[in-house]
Each structure stands twice: as structure tokens, then as C-alpha cells.
Symmetry: C2
Subunit: 135 residues, 2 copies
DNA sequence: TTTTCACTTTAGAATTATTATAAACTAGAA
DNA sequence: TTCTAGTTTATAATAATTCTAAAGTGAAAA
């Protein structure tokens, strides 16, 4: 993803492309593979990488803004921290609790044959499959 | 589950059946259906129900002790609080984010036809299916 | 180009869930 | 009954996240 696209991405979702947002967006979206992170790990990586320090509150703000705009998805992982994923398509995860690492699973790699119907007037929003790994 | 069984359950897992543990265990396990809760909701319900106040720290201690003993399972739910479940068999969940309510799905009600193999030397510990509901 | 102002950033305080601490208490073996 | 390891408790500490309010800044309009 080129810089122009980053600007387009931000503007098209109503986010003013500030210095901080562009820097974070470039870090998150200018990569080939999907990226999984927590706010804490993102902060650590950004601090290491860049000259200008971005406030932790700004990282929280930005990540939430990106999530609301649909540029990031939140992954449910047992534990205290919240994980985010640059892969916003419908997909699933392996989770290695030894390393606290998430690995994407393509939606097409899991086929569910039988599923119960939603209770009392509710509908199914989405189905998430989470595969815990061990050694 | 009768009181004798509660005592047996505690003792058999190396937990001294103290007044507090018995009270919490009775509340959690002397019921027909599975029960889902957070420490906060359990604390609220216990306070309402009983005469003697149990310290919040004790509820945390006890819930963790029960979990370690295999009498409770932890459910991964997006968000800040940790959910527990009196159903410790292999099963899945519906989650209604409107009401923050969890509903059990019997393991036999979900059949997965295709599943990817675990990465590099890892093995699959377990597979959790989480179905988000909407109205 | 300058002005203007709603949107942003920021540091630090506040909040919330959870864990740690250490003193008082107690189940149950001796 | 005595003793002691295991337990409970109030409170402090920690950790993740959100709030606050003052200072800063994109970008539209003058």
C-alpha cells in the first residue's frame, strides 16, 4: 500500500490524515502479511522504529478509530490484553499460548457442516473459530 | 448436587471445604442448567443472596481454585471481563453482545468438516466455536 | 495567504479488573 | 485442646484502558 493510498484510506473514512495517523497507518498497512498486535506491542514497536514519540493515548485513539472505520478487527483472545488484526476479512485463528502468538486461518480452510440455529428471534452475526495450540 | 457431594467435590480436589467455598460451590453447582458469570456478577449475586459477606478477593481466589480443579471453565469473550462457565465439558457458545449473555452449544451440535493442520510441530489443543448473535 | 475552528494530540489523572500482601482466622490432624 | 498449614480478609499494588482539559493543527473559508 502506497502513501497516497494511506491518505485516501484515511480520508475516505472521515479521518483527518494527521502526522500520527499516517505514521501508524503506514506501519500497520504497508506490509504484505497480516499483522497481529496489542496496543502495548504496537507502542513498543513504534517507539523503537520512529523518531517522533507518539503518545500512548493517541495510539489507543487511533487504533479505535481504525477499528471503527473497518480497517482493523479485534480478535477475542482469553486474557487481559486486547488483540487487533490488520486482516478484516472473515477468517479464523490459531492461538499459541506459549508465545501469545496469533496465526490467521483463511475462512475457506474451515468448513462447518452442522451449526445450531440462533435462539429466540436472534440471528447469527458471525462465526469465529479459535484453535488453541499446544506443543 | 447435594451438600455431601459439594463437600466430596471440594475434598477430592484438595480444597478444604471452608464456609466460603461451600457457600460459593453450592451457589454455582446446585443448579440444573449451566451457569455463566463474571467475578463481578457472582459477587453481586452472592451479596444479594447471603447473610454473610464474602470478600471479593476470596471470590477471585475461589473461582480460580475451582477453575484449576477443573470445576469451572473460562470462556473467551471479547471485552474486559473474564467469563466463567460451570459447564466444563467440551462445548461452544453463542454470545449476545446486546445483553452480554452467553448460551451453551453442545459439542455435538457443531460439526466441522474441514480444519487446517496445526503449524510447525504444534498440535491442536482444542477448537472453540463462538457464534456472535444480532437481532 | 491568513484566519478560524472543529478535530486531534497529549500528559497525566481516573477508572476498572485483577493480583499481591500480610495479618488474623480456622479446619482438622495430632 | 493444641497446633499449624491452608484460608480469608481488607487494603495496597498493578495493569490495561479511558477520561480530561489544555495546547496544537489540518484544511475550509475569507
Amino acid at each position: 500500500m502506497k502513501k497516497t493510498d494511506i491518505l485516501k484510506k484515511l480520508r475516505s473514512s472521515g479521518l483527518r490524515p494527521t502526522k500520527q495517523r499516517v505514521e501508524i497507518a503506514k506501519f500497520l498497512f504497508e506490509r504484505e502479511k497480516t499483522f497481529h498486535f496489542t496496543v502495548e506491542s504496537l507502542n513498543r514497536l513504534l517507539t523503537k522504529k520512529s523518531v517522533s514519540k507518539i503518545a500512548l493515548a493517541t495510539i489507543y485513539n487511533t487504533v479505535h478509530a481504525f477499528k471503527t472505520a473497518g480497517h482493523l478487527s479485534e480478535v477475542e483472545v482469553r486474557g487481559n490484553k486486547t488483540y487487533f488484526d490488520t486482516n478484516v476479512s472473515n477468517h479464523h485463528h490459531f492461538y499459541d499460548s506459549e508465545t501469545s502468538e496469533l496465526i490467521d486461518i483463511d475462512a475457506s480452510d474451515i468448513v462447518i457442516q452442522k451449526i445450531p440455529k440462533a435462539p429466540n428471534g436472534k440471528k447469527i452475526k458471525n462465526v469465529e473459530v479459535f484453535i488453541n495450540l499446544k506443543n
